[in-house]
């Protein structure tokens, strides 16, 4: 990737971000200087890191970075419009996430270095203990018990474990394809799924399952086991429908949110009304009524985007995830070793699937399960995990670039 190709795109995002914050600064008559401060910090973090990373990494996938930064910028604008305090917290998460991303890219030049079973075993044990933590000392939010409150900030282990899950699967699947040899990682994923269901975090369970199946199929090409896996997942869904009343409520709300308006359908109905009210071009930033939608700044941020910025922008957001998918998969398929390819594939499927699950839920295409919209929704754990996934993709992209350079003799 030549430099400068994506620089123009990056400037467009900066212009969007600054003008949107400009609008928000003047919304109440008096000038809101905090809006300029937030815009300035976001500008420094995004444009600064973009400049530094493109300078430091010859083979950076600039498009991927710009896609992610666009989503982060759109998210920040909506966060600030809804609640400036929350926006500053999100800004801190973005800064930490971008720093973590740069850190990983700088210190993990060769992904193969972490491909060892011993490290993997430690990671797997640690992950299970970490994910079990909310059950012991966690707090319940929105029906799911998947948070740990650390006083000054709270943490969602289910988010961060997505990365270790992808890592463990890649370690095992890169060298072994026989089911017998996969038992350790099989036990690991089974424990994770049981914990997630115990914490009632069905959205995360769905994404874990999708990532596991996609990575297994890519590594082995074994159609039968894959189909059996999908079947087992469907069976588990049916069993949980029969077993848990909260699942039945969700399905009823999906089938007809208007009929069950006061009994679970409220959120879906409010989201649909918000989206329809926005129309093609939206009601205008700050001119909608997004706060009637539950979880407006987290899971339901897409409905707010559609209400105020219109269906056009909503479709653009969907298109950005499709572009992410295209870039991510091309990085994965351009990789020379299975381990890197699997890591890249896992990270791409995780982001794309999570976007699909929440967007499909909001649009009433599939039953709603509460997960965040990657990079856009408010949430430190979500933003950090997403950016770590981007870092891993960039590491693989850099490996690919160096290899191609060697091959063609540049």
């Amino acid at each position: 990737m030549k430099k400068g190709k994506t620089g123009g795109l990056m400037s467009l995002i900066i212009i969007f971000e600054l003008s949107a914050f400009g609008l928000l600064a003047f919304r109440d008559g008096a000038v809101d200087t905090n809006a300029f401060i937030a815009a300035g910090i976001l500008f420094l973090v995004l444009a600064g890191s973009y400049a530094l990373l493109t300078a430091a990494f010859k083979h950076l996938d600039g498009f991927l970075l710009v896609i992610v930064y666009t989503l982060l910028a759109v998210g920040m604008v909506v966060q600030y419009r809804i609640n400036p305090d929350i926006a500053f917290k999100q800004l801190l998460s973005i800064a930490i996430g971008v720093a973590a991303m740069a850190f990983i890219m700088i210190f993990l030049r060769k992904l193969e270095r972490i491909n060892n079973t011993k490290l993997c075993t430690i990671v797997m044990v640690g992950s299970v203990l970490f994910l079990a933590l909310p059950l012991a000392i966690g707090s319940e939010q929105g029906g799911a018990k998947n948070w740990i409150d650390l006083g000054f900030f709270s943490l969602q282990p289910g988010e961060l474990i997505k990365i270790t899950l992808i890592y463990a699967l890649a370690v095992y699947l890169s060298e072994r394809t026989k089911l017998k040899k996969l038992i350790p990682v099989g036990v690991f994923v089974l424990l994770l799924m049981v914990l997630l269901i115990a914490e009632k975090d069905l959205g995360a369970a769905l994404i874990y399952a999708g990532v596991i199946i996609a990575m297994y199929y890519a590594a082995t090409g074994n159609v039968w086991v894959t189909v059996a896996g999908i079947g087992a997942g469907a069976g588990a869904a049916v069993i949980s429908y029969e077993l848990f009343s909260h699942v039945r409520v969700r399905v009823a709300a999906w089938r007809n949110p208007w009929a069950s308006y006061y009994d679970g359908g409220y959120q879906i109905a409010q989201g649909l009304m918000a989206i329809a009210s926005g129309g093609l071009f939206g009601l205008g930033l700050n001119l909608g009524t997004p706060k009637v939608i539950p979880a407006y700044h987290t899971d339901y941020i897409f409905a707010v985007i559609c209400e105020e910025m219109g269906i056009i922008v909503g479709l653009c957001v969907i298109a950005l995830y499709v572009l992410f998918l295209v870039r991510g998969m091309s990085i994965s398929m351009g990789s020379a070793d299975r381990f890197s390819a699997l890591i890249a594939l896992g990270c791409t499927v995780y982001i794309a699937l999570q976007a699909f699950v929440i967007l499909g839920g909001i649009l009433k295409l599939i039953p709603l399960t509460g997960v965040t919209l990657p990079f856009v929704s408010y949430g430190g754990s979500s933003v950090l995990t997403g950016l770590v996934a981007v870092a891993l993709l960039q590491v693989v992209a850099a490996q690919n670039g160096r290899r191609r350079e060697g091959e063609t003799g540049f």
Binding site: M273, A276, T289, V322, S332, V349, F356, L363, L365
Partner: protein
């Protein structure tokens, strides 16, 4: 790595397909349901718009004002209480109780949400209180008032009349009705008590799911014409009740019961029936009838025999073609789904072929079926909004007729007209005849388990200048031919008079 790339490509394609589905569904759903979601009474944005915008007028097709706003923005309804009640389900109310009336359904016009971007910006800067668009409906207020008056002698019912060439609804009225000016009495009072629901808020023309009875024979007859070769030449035997096996519901051809025997059996309290019987409703039997005669006399046994020849699946596909079982998503009308169920054995199929068993039909759907027969087999989408005119007198919405589907070929439609016109000429529906006009129709007397049967009539005036189709349901009115047909005649005649 080669096989990995191949597998990864599969994963990629599946993921892309999911997103294609998502994007496609997004656009489709908003196109189809967007307006309903937006104008939903739960939508607080519409409520807040009401406070900042003076809502536009609702007028009938001749310009008569049905609802307007006073200087303070309060809604003012027509002076005549009868007119208010006759049109209540069409205009809707200002409290969102009838979610499908014009007040809710066309709220985006009435509240100026159809305004252009520049208009909104202009209003924002000038600070003027925005005025919404006027909505001109397709209905005729005078005709509606007249028809509602005819319903007032009965406990309940509905009448719909539409132009079968354009789909415009000229009349839609439902009884019992309510007065929109005092509709708030249906809201919970300050102690949380709710007025007893007397069903007045329901628009029976669109949401009333009635047992169709013999009007369903239109569907069975159309299926016979389509699927049985030379159906018009058929000799259908109907010398007495048909017997079915009590266990399996299978038809027992060899068991013959004469009408006299049957009458005796039925009056004998000690008689224990060996079989299930399908009888004619008025116990009128004939030797053999042609399809045309059977339709004109509305002979149950003949149609039961047709159902045995056709089988439930063919009747079902004809019903589907007429929109029965379809979830309609019309832009102007929220129409509930009618349904046909063929049943699990020949006995149930026979009853469902004559409109009993579990069949249900909405009056508007039935009216659309008659309309499609008169309109050479083309079913027009029902329309309620003729025009939207904004405060600058600019037309923001104009009616666009839409051929919704083609349930019949023009030849089939012509044959069906022959059948329906025979009903009015010399069959059960003679009370609907209008001298000087060709009227076709079908009566129905639906057994519902209530004290009196529901009386149905549906039909049309075959006339280029007055292309009207009608459906009338009178709850517990008794015989369709004696009660519903004369009402249909009066309403059609009034519609012709009014132009």
């Amino acid at each position: 790595m080669k096989s990995f790339r191949r597998n990864a490509r599969t994963v990629f394609i599946v993921a892309l397909a999911l997103f294609a589905l998502l994007g496609g569904y997004f656009v489709y759903a908003l196109n189809t349901y967007g307006m309903r979601w937006q104008t939903n009474p739960y939508n607080v944005r519409v409520q807040s718009q009401k406070n900042s915008v003076i809502a536009g007028d609702i007028k009938d097709r001749n310009g008569a004002i049905l609802v307007t706003s006073d200087d303070e923005g309060n809604r003012v309804y027509a002076d005549s209480k009868t007119l208010r009640k006759a049109l209540a389900h069409v205009t809707g109310d200002n409290f969102g109780l009838t979610g499908t009336g014009a007040e809710s359904f066309f709220a985006n016009y009435l509240l100026g949400m159809d305004a252009g971007l520049f208009e909104i910006i202009g209003n924002t800067f000038s600070g003027a209180k925005q005025r919404g668009s006027d909505v001109v409906l397709t209905v005729d207020a005078e005709l509606t008032k007249y028809a509602y008056g005819l319903l007032s002698d009965y406990s309940g019912g509905a009448i719909v009349l539409m132009n079968y060439k354009t789909g415009e609804i000229l009349l839609m009225t439902s009884a019992p009705s309510f007065d929109p000016t005092t509709a708030d009495e249906y809201l919970p009072d300050k102690d949380g008590n709710v007025k007893e629901d007397d069903g007045a808020l329901v628009n029976r023309a669109t949401a009333g799911k009635y047992t169709p009875g013999s009007v369903f024979k239109i569907v069975t007859a159309a299926a016979a014409i389509r699927y049985i070769p030379n159906a018009m030449e058929l000799d259908i035997e109907c010398g007495g009740p048909l017997a079915f096996d009590q266990e399996t519901g299978a038809f027992l051809e060899q068991v013959k019961t004469t009408p006299e025997q049957d009458k005796e059996n039925r009056t004998n309290p000690d008689f224990v029936p060996e079989y299930l019987y399908l009888r004619d409703y008025q116990s009128s039997y004939h030797d053999t009838l042609t399809l045309k005669q059977a339709f004109a006399k509305s002979c149950n046994v003949s149609f039961a025999r047709l159902s045995l020849l056709l089988g439930g699946d063919k009747i079902n596909s004809m019903a589907r073609a007429f929109g029965i079982g379809e979830e309609f998503t019309f832009s102007d009308v929220a129409l509930y789904t009618s349904s046909y169920q063929k049943g699990s054995n020949p006995y149930e199929t026979a009853w469902s072929a004559v409109g009993q068993h579990k069949d249900v039909m909405t009056p508007l759907n039935l009216c659309m079926i008659s309309a499609s027969i008169a309109n050479e087999g083309v079913m027009m989408e029902p329309k309620l909004m003729k025009r939207g005119v904004n405060s600058a007198n600019y037309i923001t919405h104009a009616l666009q007729t839409n051929a919704y589907s083609s349930p019949l070929s023009s030849l089939e439609a012509q044959t069906m007209r022959e059948l329906m016109e025979a009903v009015v000429e010399n069959g059960t529906g003679t009370a609907a005849a209008i001298s000087g006009y060709t009227v076709g129709g079908k009566t129905g007397t639906a057994q519902t388990g209530k004290e009196e049967d529901d009386a149905w009539f549906t039909g049309y005036v075959y006339d280029d200048d007055h292309p009207y189709a009608i459906a009338v349901i009178i709850e517990e009115g008794g015989s369709g031919g004696k009660v519903a047909a004369p009402i249909a005649r009066k309403v059609l005649k009034k519609a012709i008079e009014l132009g």
